[in-house]
Amino acid sequence: MKISAARGHRAARVAVPIFPGSNSEEETVRACLAVGLHATLVHWSAGPAALRGYDAYVLPGGFAYEDRIRAGAIAAHDAMMDAVVAAAQRGVLVLGICNGAQILVEAGLVPGTGPARRPTAAFAPNKPGGRFVCRHVYVKLSVPPDRCAITTNLRAEEIIPMWAAHGEGRLAASRHELGRLHRSGHIAFRYCDRFGNFTPEATPNGSPFGAAALTNKDGNVLAIMPHAERDAWTYQQRDGAVRLDARGDAAKMLAPAGGIRLFAGLARALGVKK
């Protein structure tokens, strides 16, 4: 399938659909704007027609529909998702973050190894204990950059800091499916330590292979559990050296950094040259 992307003739238009219970939409829009994308919040009550014609979709984090039934389950079947599913199947870029990632998995868009709306994987309750985790993490690109359109402009094995904040972020699937996801390059990012080492301690939720993100076969959909948009500015960086370098300089402190790289990858894939 050809990946559908704007080629810089006009500002790439990105829709950020919000459902009742979404809560990270403002940060997501801000990160999109910072990398030159024209981002618009689209309220669920606007109806699916309001989502037509965008160059990409970014589903933000939160607790859509209060996680009723399961995280992402109701939103995945919301009429709004009809437009996103149809667009994804045409090759339009779709990024889901945290609850947005859970929605994409429930909608069957990632890993996309079954029919739409028939999930073959899940972001299941964390292990051990099923507790909500809120923790700073690092993720490493664990597929070739061109495996996923959104990561094409990242460096091979690039490490990006983010915040994990979820109760259901552990990749789950049948043993057979997990093996297939690993072998077929569906696991786009893995948790690692700040030096890039994959260790059990670096994974906050017991996810097999330290999986933090899934992409589909065609590489136009990316579902990532940790929040890049919550680690997207210099003042948010955990690395003291980064903040030290900006000390006393407001412009530097407020400059994009860290997790903004993921959004920059989306923007470059959409033809934004900024």
């Binding site: 039934i69 389950a73 709306r117 999930p119 073959t120 994987a121 899940a122 299941a124 699937a173």
Partner: protein, 156 residues
């Protein structure tokens, strides 16, 4: 000797989750007029302690809150007509279990005489007023929405 004892905990206040689920099922074309949700607990309890179990459960507020719940024992540890139970798959099935049984701790409390438990979300469907859903409808609802087979199982 352990025996399974099942309890259903249901809301006495309006159940928004059940309402949202019903609306979604209808949108997906499932023939369903009414839907009830419950938390189902199946405890493996020593036969001699089974009579005490309900009082123990009623005293754990994270399971049972008398201001908004009704709790009752199910006659058998199986779903009722029109009902499906959805729970997480036991990923440790087939793995060696500890040789010595330990009493279950829930919400910081030891459940005396209880050595295991399983927890499900129970969904009871009606096709029309007074007529519980058929197995076909239940299976369709589970496959379409209520269960993600990647990590959950159903009991009908």
């Amino acid at each position: 000797m352990l025996k399974p004892v099942a309890y259903s905990v249901e809301l006495t206040i309006p159940d928004n989750e059940a309402y949202t689920t019903l609306v979604t099922l209808v949108r997906l074309g499932i023939v369903c007029r009414k839907l009830e949700r419950s938390e189902v607990w199946v405890f493996d309890v020593e036969e001699a302690r089974a009579d005490d179990l309900e009082a123990q459960i009623r005293s754990i507020e994270t399971i049972f809150n008398p201001n908004k719940h009704v709790l009752f024992a199910l006659g058998s540890p199986r779903p009722r007509p029109g009902e499906v139970w959805v729970g997480e798959r036991d990923e440790d099935a087939g793995q060696p279990r500890p040789a010595a049984l330990r009493e279950v701790r829930l919400a910081g409390r030891t459940l005396e005489g209880v050595f295991g438990y399983r927890r499900y979300k129970g969904w009871r469907l009606w096709e029309s007023e007074g007529e519980v859903a058929s197995q076909e409808v239940i299976a369709n609802a589970a496959e379409t929405l209520l269960c993600n087979p990647a990590f959950q199982v159903i009991i009908t």
